[in-house]
Symmetry: C2
Subunit: 82 residues, 2 copies
């Protein structure tokens, strides 16, 4: 079975986010009332799995092993069948 996972990787709160701060400053410079911006990464992963249960375990493992740094990142994902 084919699955698609949409994975969002954000910095844990407390970590400084220079890219987000710069983006917020740039938006303020353009005249918008922006309070804060957090920049993050997202991945669409298309992969194979036996069933939804196993697919969920697989994508969790991929997140922990490669896509995120568990020390500084939080992540969440949405899994759907293709």
């Amino acid at each position: 079975m084919k699955f698609k996972a949409f994975v969002y990787v954000t910095l844990k709160s407390g970590y400084s986010d220079p890219e987000g701060d710069t983006t917020a400053d740039a938006l303020k410079g353009l005249g918008y009332s922006v309070n804060k911006v957090r920049a993050s990464k997202a991945y669409e992963v298309y992969f194979e799995g036996k069933d939804k249960e196993q697919a969920k375990a697989l994508i969790e493992e991929m997140c922990r092993r490669l896509l995120t740094n568990p020390t500084k990142d939080d992540y969440r994902f949405e899994l759907s069948e293709q």
Copy 2:
């Protein structure tokens, strides 16, 4: 009123995505049956607006003016009240 927008920026299909390709290769190297990975960016933008209508127009404008490159990027956003 305070709003939070979650903006996803992806490359239009047809554009090559070296970061996604490299991530897919790395996942395959770890033994996962991955077909494709698309890497993208996400922003959480906290900003002020008069009402939901105006907030939607504002975030659309921010996307077009700063957060995305309309030539090569697609974007979508989720807007919520804070």
